[in-house]
Amino acid sequence: MNDVVDYEEAVAAFDPVLGIEVHVELGTRTKMFDGAPVAFGGEPNSRVTPVSLGLPGSLPKVNRAAVESAIRIGLALGCEIAESSRFARKNYFYPDMPKNFQTSQYDEPIARDGHLDVELADGTLFRVEIERAHMEEDAGKNTHVGGDAGRIHSAEYSLVDYNRAGVPLVEIVTRPITGAGARAPEVAAAYVQTLRDIFRVLDVSEARMERGNVRADVNVSLRPSPEAPLGTRTETKNVNSFRSIERAVQYEITRQAAVLLSGGTVVQETRHWHEETGETSPGRVKSDAEDYRYFPEPDLMPIVPDRAWIEELRARLPELPAARRRRLQAEWGFSDLEMRDAAGALDLIVETVAAGAAPAAARKWWTGELARVANSRGATLEELPVTPVQVAQLVALVDAGELTERLARQVLDGVLAGEGDPADVLATRGLRVVSDDGPLLAAIDDVIAANPDIVERIRAGRVQATGALVGSVMKATRGQADAGRVKELIASRLGV
């Protein structure tokens, strides 16, 4: 039996169903249940209190700022905010859990029944139903020392850092995502990316995937047809980039299809994602026998948020990414295609337009020349040493006829090389559009004299051969001439 089958074959034979759990670490000042500071890194076990170490006698205390963030996430996802919600204890033994239970929400989450419309690459909107969003605390971090590359089984010993223990998390759980078909991997990645964008706009988290601020667990199952009952699922844990989410879903679909097509059954289990190989491997077997013995956390009172406060938070929600895109598209008059093209540079275009550039010109520079440069440098657009204001200045110079498109690209090179604003580059490099016909005519005459055969062909009616002469003139003038004017002058010189 093959480990995997071809993806096309897999999605032709089966209907994939997804379920995604996203954890976001909230960027609150202090932890979920105590006053220890929340910050990335730090000396191991320096950001702890008796509470985050689970010392005997310590008691939790709910962080109001974390509750506010959770409510705002719930509202942004169109959820109902519970009149009363409660924390529960999820009991299991693990050294990174100081109390050997996680304080989480179980049957009474703070938010439930929402949805998120996710835009796919071709512009279609795909609705993901949200079952719930709930608050919980993060665990500490284990480091396995000695043996085989940080694996627990061969380690000589393990170290535990509780700095992360108790950091507030919001977990967002989808209902089964059906109807994505072959696009399931894309839907999964786009869903998490859309959530990430929302976390950032809400300013509830830095939402940096590479720091693990946002972590996704992806459940995948296959069924023979959309009418069939749900198949057995696997849960691939901690997939932490959009690309990996897409690849992991795709891999699981091809792996499960191979199992099912060879007459096997999918094992309900947790799986680990391996970035290098693009494969998943089995972790611990997850079955209904795993019993967390949930019960209401007796050390905390139910959370009963004031309804007026919720309405105030709702009223103060920032414009969410999807609504903003719709508004900008209308303001800018972009086609759907142009808008998708602009998606990766939206903020930069907004700022460039604010600095006076026309939306179309701003889009053209950021998604064209600058995207090319960024790509070749392996950098993001934001990392390029050019500001939206400088791009707007460049556009203004072109609009004023002081630069041709081609010269403008040279000026941009100068800006990127740190030579200053476009006007500075223009001056120091001595780049000017040559609009005085005198020097142009001299160059044209030289070119005509040097290319008698081409001149012959033009005179014989092959007007398009003029382009070769224009090119030579432009080259001779280092691109500073207006190509249109050159063409006119050649025509009049040759009397055609």
Binding site: P56, L59, N91, N100, V160, P298, D299
Partner: protein, 501 residues
């Protein structure tokens, strides 16, 4: 024996304020008393003599500078060993915490220190407060000063015996199902379980979080009230802490009057299963209250019959989770398996296997089972419903009566070993105290006399939530009437401490 030993906290406070004695003298007298008698009683697991004397010196210095001091400043106290004390070993009576030095103070300890009360030491208890006799302490039982062949009650037998044997004028206890009140009853002392949330639990090593409550242990009702005033009040570190002003409990004692009060006798907390002498003592006390103008009414709380069963589901369930953190990973005992691989899971198992006693294991197993998938509704869920019914019974009873009363425990102090092999018989000793924990209402026990066996009997007063004052009023009157009748305090009259005074 110094005459300072055996003096009430209220009187010590007066002597200290008048500068007739120093805190160092008072503290030293009690440390000497501990050295003299605790070899036999074993009320304290450890003392903190140097720290206590240093604290006493600071109070004396402040007083000599003329600084205004809290009322009980300079009066020493002992603290139950499930309340964490910064820099002073805290074990909860368990091997698994032996040697653990907490890096922080419980809120009540912070308040004792702020009140200038030197901490004499830490008192013995049943391991993690699970028991009614202190026989389950990993460090050996405490003996009852009335009869050293008998138990001092539990789990707070150490605090009660310390106060009864004049080793400390005051002590801190914790009460999950009667662990302050039942030891009070069997040692002839006063014990108070405040309204749930009335005293911060921050720093109390949790047994069952929804039932636990810290409270005062004393020899007189007024002393209990004075200590209660130090302990009570909102604590932002405990989410279940009440945010309400603390009334003057000691004023309620001083101005006590029961004329016109309706006192309800709970039909279900008496009668069959209650020792004859216990019933007789209770009836005598009731008669005194009636003579003082109280109206005695009988009330029925039928759901109390299910209290013990509900309690022994909720308590183990919460305890099984609360005690999960004792795993050898961060503090306390750590045992590596003697053979096979040393994995975290195996270290946890070996540590818990070696560190917990049988009663603790019994309750962890019970609680783990009660919370298991498929059993949760039948066990924990049903128990919570019983809890609601008990709260309703209390509410109905308090419609008819201002306070409720009962014997604190069905029997006087039993002999060591008598109930050790019969957990159910042991559990039944808390039958009258448990309902208040399930309902979150306050309760206190004060001595009502001695039984036919010459052992003390406790009288329990129960009040509605947030009405702790009422039980101080009733107890204050009853104590005065009883002492008039006895011609002194019970401990003195019966020469419990050798009549040396």
């Amino acid at each position: 024996m110094s005459t300072l030993v055996g003096t009430t906290a209220a009187e010590l406070a007066r002597l200290l304020a008048a500068r007739e004695v120093s805190s160092v003298e008072v503290t030293r007298a009690h440390l000497d008393r501990i050295a003299e008698v605790d070899g036999e009683i074993h009320a304290h697991l450890r003392t903190a003599a140097a720290e206590a004397l240093a604290a006493a010196e600071r109070v004396d210095a402040a007083r000599s500078r003329g600084e205004g001091l809290p009322l009980l400043a300079g009066v020493p106290i002992s603290v139950k060993d499930n309340v964490v004390t910064r820099g002073l070993e805290t074990t909860a009576g368990s091997r698994i915490l032996e040697g653990w030095i907490p890096p922080y103070d419980a809120t009540v300890v912070t308040r004792l220190r702020a009140a200038g009360m030197p901490i004499l030491g830490k008192t013995n208890l049943d391991e993690f407060a699970m028991g009614s006799s202190t026989e389950h302490s990993a460090f050996g039982p405490t003996r009852n000063p009335w009869d050293t062949g008998r138990i001092p009650g539990g789990s707070g037998g150490g605090s009660a015996a310390a106060v009864a044997s004049l080793q400390a004028p005051l002590a801190i206890g914790s009460d999950t199902g009667g662990s302050i009140r039942q030891p009070g009853a069997v040692t002839g002392t006063v014990g108070v379980k405040p309204t749930y949330g009335g005293v911060s639990r921050y720093g109390l090593i949790a047994l069952a979080s929804s039932l636990d409550q810290i409270g005062p242990v004393a020899r007189t009702v007024e002393d209990a009230a004075l200590l209660h005033e130090v302990l009570a009040g909102h604590d932002p570190l405990d989410s279940t802490s009440l945010d309400a002003p603390v009334p003057s409990f000691s004023a309620a004692v001083r101005d006590a009057d029961v004329a016109g009060m309706r006192i309800g006798v709970v039909r279900e907390l008496g009668g069959e299963g209650y020792q004859e002498g216990v019933r007789a003592s209770f009836e005598t006390a009731l008669g005194l209250l009636a003579d003082a103008g109280a109206e005695i009414v009988e009330v029925s709380c039928p759901s109390f019959d299910y209290a013990l069963a509900a309690y022994y589901l909720i308590l183990p369930a919460e305890a099984s989770s609360n005690l999960a953190r004792f795993d050898g990973m961060r503090f306390g005992l750590r045992i590596e398996p003697s053979d096979g691989p040393v994995t975290a899971e195996r270290v946890m198992a070996a540590t818990r296997g070696a560190g917990f006693g049988d009663e603790v294991k019994r309750r962890i197993i019970l609680g783990t089972h009660a919370l298991s998938a498929g059993y949760f509704d039948a066990y924990y869920g049903s128990a919570q419903k019983v809890r609601t019914l008990i709260q309703r019974d209390f509410a109905a009873a308090f419609e008819r009566a201002d306070v409720l009363v009962s014997p604190t425990a069905p029997t006087t102090a039993f002999r060591f070993g008598e109930k050790l092999d019969d957990p159910l018989a042991m559990y039944l000793n808390d039958i009258a105290t448990i309902p208040a924990n399930l309902a979150g209402t306050p309760g206190m026990s004060l001595p009502s006399g001695v039984s036919e066996d010459g052992l003390p009997v406790g009288f329990q007063v129960l009040a509605p939530a947030h009405e702790d004052e009422r039980m101080y009023r009733v107890s204050g009157v009853l104590e005065r009437l009883l002492e008039e009748r006895w011609g002194g305090r019970l401990l003195d009259v019966h020469g419990v401490n050798g009549g040396a005074r």
